[in-house]
Subunit: 574 residues, 2 copies
Amino acid sequence: MKRQFTLKKYLPILVWGPNYDRQRFSEDLLAATIVAIMVIPQSLAYALVAGLPAQAGLYAAMFGLSFYTFFGTSNTLSVGPVAVLSLMTAAALGKLSLATPEQYLAAATALALLSGGVLIVLGLLRLGFIANFISHPVISAFITGSAIIIAVSQFRHILGVAGGGQNLIEQIMALAANLDQVNYPTLTLGVAAMCLILWIRHGLQPLLEYVGIRQALAVSVCRAGPLLVIVLSSLLAWGLRLDEQGVALLGEVPSGLPGWQLPPLDFALARSLWGSALLIAIIGFVESVSVAQVLAARRRERVNLDQELVGLGAANLASASGGGYPVCGGFSRSIVNFEAGAATPLAGLLTAGFIALVVLSLTPALFWLPRVSLAAIILMAVYPLIDFSMVVKSFRYSRADFVAVVLTLVLTLAVGVEIGVAGGVLTSVMVHLYKTSKPHVAVVGRVLGTEHFRNVERHKVETFESLLSIRVDESLYFANSQYLEEFIYKLIAKKPNLKHVILMCTAVNEIDLSALEALETINETLDELGIKLHLSEVKGPIMDKLGHTGFFTKLTGNNYLSHNQAVEDLRLPA
Amino acid sequence: MKRQFTLKKYLPILVWGPNYDRQRFSEDLLAATIVAIMVIPQSLAYALVAGLPAQAGLYAAMFGLSFYTFFGTSNTLSVGPVAVLSLMTAAALGKLSLATPEQYLAAATALALLSGGVLIVLGLLRLGFIANFISHPVISAFITGSAIIIAVSQFRHILGVAGGGQNLIEQIMALAANLDQVNYPTLTLGVAAMCLILWIRHGLQPLLEYVGIRQALAVSVCRAGPLLVIVLSSLLAWGLRLDEQGVALLGEVPSGLPGWQLPPLDFALARSLWGSALLIAIIGFVESVSVAQVLAARRRERVNLDQELVGLGAANLASASGGGYPVCGGFSRSIVNFEAGAATPLAGLLTAGFIALVVLSLTPALFWLPRVSLAAIILMAVYPLIDFSMVVKSFRYSRADFVAVVLTLVLTLAVGVEIGVAGGVLTSVMVHLYKTSKPHVAVVGRVLGTEHFRNVERHKVETFESLLSIRVDESLYFANSQYLEEFIYKLIAKKPNLKHVILMCTAVNEIDLSALEALETINETLDELGIKLHLSEVKGPIMDKLGHTGFFTKLTGNNYLSHNQAVEDLRLPA
């Protein structure tokens, strides 16, 4: 593959930008409006999940979206704070002992900076393949586990009680202990907010269409549920002075655009955060490309995975520099962006413009926003993520996947998000290696009257006392080379008259160095017993590789092009 | 597979014990004598490598050998302290901040207890396959790195200077700084000891045979080099009062058998040691079975790998209870045991008996043993382990293995043994997954006038505008399922008239849940574009698995037994 450097490759806006026209702009502007309605409440809410002030979510979305426009390759991916990364940010920062909210915020921006750095390095080195190691069942179980943790963490805000705790059990215990202190105005507001969101989501749209509103418009209006909750509940809190009833308000949110500065990152902080940053980078990448790829394919467009790493990295660096925290492409937001007709990544920049307007002019109004409304929005956003169908599906389909799914879920819930996802990935890799470490190896014999060789246990075939034909149905590599040794030694222990062992290599696509060493050991061991080792039907590329090593000069037997020829040559006593 | 519980399986002595006779006893006794001559100096010396008092090595060998006799399945494996595990023990204990030598020894026995526990659990759960993940090149590089570290650590004893340091660089710096304080009597004794061992090893045997001594006896005598060094140098130190010349002596070694007690293991200690114990268990297991398996095969005997885990676990538990430290089968000792004609594991018990005699009666004489003699013995034992041929071989054979080898070597030397071996294993697994994550996928067409389908890029074949035939040459699993998605989306983006995609599954041996999900996503995405997805030539077991999931009811296209049939059906517009 020729890899020529072109600026276009690393700055995709140079590809689509020159053809940008008024038609596309109007499409992008419509999509941006609808996405902004959705992303503003979500950003405020998810920042609280991460343990950050609400405006950090707005900054993250604003800067993340702006920079992705220049570096991203998906026309529809909508970048910003998402539920899972917010929880992972909280988990990463919770491990540090940070004294003040300022230090906590500084650490969050540092985390975004590190994640962005990791993504860009992976992209430039074309290492996007490491995302492949996170299997789909594992990520699915991880998202379900994370959504449960987020949901439970919001219950205390809905109830208006004190709470907290390092893990799920502690949080539930704290909730139970404080149940007698429920603040009923808060609870009422919370339940009302959730009912309103649910009704707008499920009940309003048919009604609007019934009264004759276009479906597209009806859908857009129904995206505004969370925003409506914010507006209504803020008005209510202001009008009724709900803070005097014990309803917690969001309080002062700084106005104006944030300063642009590199986050403070010392060596000690980087050292304690880099593992978390790597996990956040990879999970964010996996979540982003899984939706970006499918949406692109539906329009016969393509995303470039290596450049997506760079694009998401740029978004995170921008978020860090603007006082935000780690971002990635949001699943539901991107689908909304796609369905609303976003034509290019510029829709993201326009969305960022809307957020900037809010930041510049509407933050004073956020003072009156009840905290419980954001909790209600979070709960309604994460409950669709809780999906146990993967547990059932994997149980039915494959025990190996089931083990990985259950382990990921249990570890995420019981120990934490980082251990959960790392344990899940490790398990699926181990299980895969286990499966290939015991390949199918068969003793074969010749089907009478033909030149075909088949498994002696399944077919009626002819065999010879002095020779043993073995067919390996897998590439030979370190995880199964010892198995091959054991298999052969087991067989020869039972056959005192054996003179020749022939390995039939039709299905061997690779022989790595461990396997080569194993073959050399087998060759020597058989030699001590007066048995010769032969190979047959070795594939061309492997022949070339083996030829360089001098293996064939050490081999006691021959290398045959055809297995039948080998048997014909060796079956008669010399 | 039927797995019936029988005591014989877990106590292999019940298999060979009943047939034990005088003939075997005399064979075992001879082998035990020769091995004891070798193992006693080595045990004393390796204990010092681990940072333990010399007698801990004797106890470890004595108890390890005794218990392996009952639980082991190899007739020739000689269990006891080995160089690599001694270094790993020192590395594991060095991380703890232990105040007194007593605490250090207690932690070493705790480490043996944990390793033994890990081995037995792995054995009972039949998890021996995890040893397969350590590729041969990685273990080879790891042993070379360890041997270099051990050798360098002994230089200060040979020179009789102060020294130390956490890593190789620090040790060499400390040596260089103290070079002006060389103790010449010590250096003279050390060099003389090494020369004597080398001469006995390489020069004496031909001489003995020349004067008419039987080869077998000559070989045995030449094993006695290190023992001779111990006896001669102790006599010299006693006779010439070498301690007054500044030659360090071993000093007081307790006499009599050690008390038998469970090592002190609290939760905090177990928590900080379990990772090291796991590594020690696995490395010890890999080293043991690699030699045991080959030696067994040479006599057409077999070792049972799962029971070997139990046997080595029992040896470690015994070593822990007797005041020793982690043990495993020694490479060179086992070969000596084999060549000396050991018939059963009872040879090990007899060797243990000889060690017990030394412990009971000869420890007072060890007072006079110069420390430098043990350093000379260690140097002569580890220098053959330093072997860079694997670096050259992997460089010539495969870039992937070369990367793993160099990384293991560099990390072991520069950072430490645990990071070295863990990094090596991780690298080889990653490299393997990387290779299978980009499988060979080909667009195929029909060879004119036949029913065969071949790669369109290599053969002259017929294709049809409305259909696309794709052959995948690898099992589909999580690491390559996204690659398949991307491959297909890339192709369809270029083909506006496409109506059918047919996946030819002849070489697909497995479809895991991630790959199933990917196929479902591909199916949906193609459906949106009005393209149907078909499968052809799916193997029986996969058909069964897919059948249970309802995949075929969702599939927009059909499932064809023959690819040619699929093409015939679909090439004409419906």
